[in-house]
């Protein structure tokens, strides 16, 4: 039964990155934008539902991606909506294998009455993040809506880059290793704690950061051994691995003890019963590698400050296709895709 087709309203859960959102895209957006009987050769379009789209030009691919950012609160420990906007777009390009950003756009919709100082703060943060990653904002758009007609500030960023080799999220094969580039759950837990006013004294902060330079190191070290990449944003590692497994036609078995999790994140997750696997990350990537390439990719990641906690966390299997299984050390359990509104909207 299709939830969305029978429902008459779009609900909050449809934006949360989980199953409900995926189904909305499949049922409504793909129907609108992917109706060509054949995708022209040399085009990766919406039907692929990858981190970006791409067009083959000459001997390279032009990769593009777009994101709208509606995070609340706008400013959170470790970052803000501006840094999130730039990092998110740069990272999506990197996940497609395009680590040299050609340019970004920046469109904003601002609520009437929004403090000018906050806008300046956000723009300054975007400027600094662009410098960090050698990306340039080339063009943009500015709109203001009435008070109450929009929630503070919405930023949309689009990015374009060129690459000679596109990395998809569907190339995993049995035996491939899954590497995560660092600790999981940091962003989602920090923002959730702040949103819900959880009265906790814990060192939670977002991991928001552009990781294209880190990914470049990994791609170079892998020398073709990277078979899939995806960044675990909304919906967390669980959602991303689910997609990779389903699209690749493999099962994924994760070793819980190998998952890098900061103590503060683990503590909060025990306290409020939310699994770090289901929570957003904004400065991390999941990389599928051929087993023989894993050691050198791991070494390359760990040589970079943003990859210091990189770890091999799992392996791809030829059974239980499309499933994500977690070995807890006591037994195994299936990690299901988080449903839409399990977690607050955080980016």
């Amino acid at each position: 039964m299709s939830v969305v087709a029978s429902g008459d309203r779009i609900l909050l859960k449809h934006g949360s990155g989980g199953r409900a959102m995926r189904r909305l895209i499949e049922e409504s957006f793909l129907r609108a934008f992917a109706t060509e009987p054949e995708i022209p050769a040399g085009v990766i379009g919406v039907a692929a539902m990858d981190d970006g789209g791409a067009v083959h030009i000459g001997d390279r691919w032009l990769v593009m991606t777009t994101d709208s950012h509606v995070v609340q609160p706008l400013f959170f420990p470790g970052g803000d909506i501006g840094r999130l906007a730039v990092s998110g777009t740069v990272n999506d390009l990197a996940m497609m294998g395009a680590t040299d950003v050609l340019g970004l756009t920046c469109s904003v919709i601002i609520e009437d009455g929004f403090p000018r100082a906050d806008l300046e703060r956000v723009l300054e943060s975007m400027r600094r993040t662009c410098l960090e990653t050698s990306a340039i904002v080339l063009t943009g758009d500015t709109k203001v809506m009435g008070k109450g007609d929009i929630d503070g500030l919405v930023i949309n960023t689009t990015g374009v880059a060129l690459t000679s080799h596109v990395v998809r999220d569907r190339g995993l094969r049995p035996g491939d290793r899954i590497i995560v580039t660092g600790t999981i759950g940091d962003h989602g837990m920090a923002v959730m704690a702040m949103r819900h006013g959880l009265d906790l004294d814990a060192d939670l902060r977002s991991d928001v950061a552009p990781i294209n330079a880190l990914i470049r190191l990994a791609l170079n070290a892998a020398d073709g051994g990277i078979t899939a990449m995806k960044d675990p944003t909304r919906g967390g590692v669980a959602t991303a691995l689910h997609e990779m497994a389903a699209k690749s036609g493999v099962g994924i078995l994760v070793d819980e003890a190998s998952l890098p999790v900061r103590d503060a994140v683990r503590g909060v997750s025990e306290l409020v019963g939310i699994d770090p696997l289901l929570v957003a990350n904004e400065g991390k990537a999941l990389i599928g590698v051929r087993a023989e390439a894993a050691p050198r990719v791991l070494a390359a990641l760990r040589s970079h400050p943003l990859g210091a906690d990189a770890a091999v966390i799992g392996v791809c299997t030829d059974d239980r296709i499309g499933m994500l299984i977690l070995d807890t050390g006591f037994g195994c359990r299936l990690v299901a895709e988080p449903e839409g509104d399990l977690l607050p909207r955080i980016c």
Partner: protein
């Protein structure tokens, strides 16, 4: 909701305690505990209230109990009454030996199981079958 979580008290006054849970600190209310709580104690916390002070020595008692359980389970013969009472130091008195045991229906041994499938449609194989389901 049933989130009873143990934590270490790092500060306490009459009404509340600051408790450390895996590095996360949270202030909990002490309205419900039945004995005074001091720095260094462990407490069981549930929905923002400490519901029990956990004496540190009791933690080891529990682990010892599990060791004993394993030792006894490894014996071929059933446990002697002595050993039983040692383990049940926390409960003891509730056993009643004078009433006849409840009749337990014998259930025929299950037929050999089908090879384990990896996926069934909402099936219960591989997980406990509920009472009432036949073999």
């Amino acid at each position: 909701m049933c989130l009873g979580v143990p934590g270490l008290v790092i500060d306490a006054d009459e009404l509340t305690a600051l408790v450390d849970f895996w590095g996360v600190r949270r202030r909990v209310r002490l309205d419900l505990v039945d004995e005074p709580v001091a720095v260094g104690d462990y407490v069981l916390n549930h929905v923002g209230f400490a519901i029990r002070r956990i004496p540190p020595e009791d933690v080891h008692t529990t682990l010892d109990m599990y060791e004993q359980l394993l030792k006894d389970a490894n014996r071929d013969d059933l446990m002697t009454a002595d050993v039983r009472s040692e383990i049940e130091a926390g409960s003891a008195d509730a056993r009643l030996k004078d009433t006849p045991p409840r009749t337990v229906r014998a259930v025929e041994a299950p037929s050999p199981r089908a090879p384990a499938d990896t996926v069934e449609n909402g099936g219960a194989r591989g997980f406990s079958r509920a009472a009432g389901a036949d073999d």
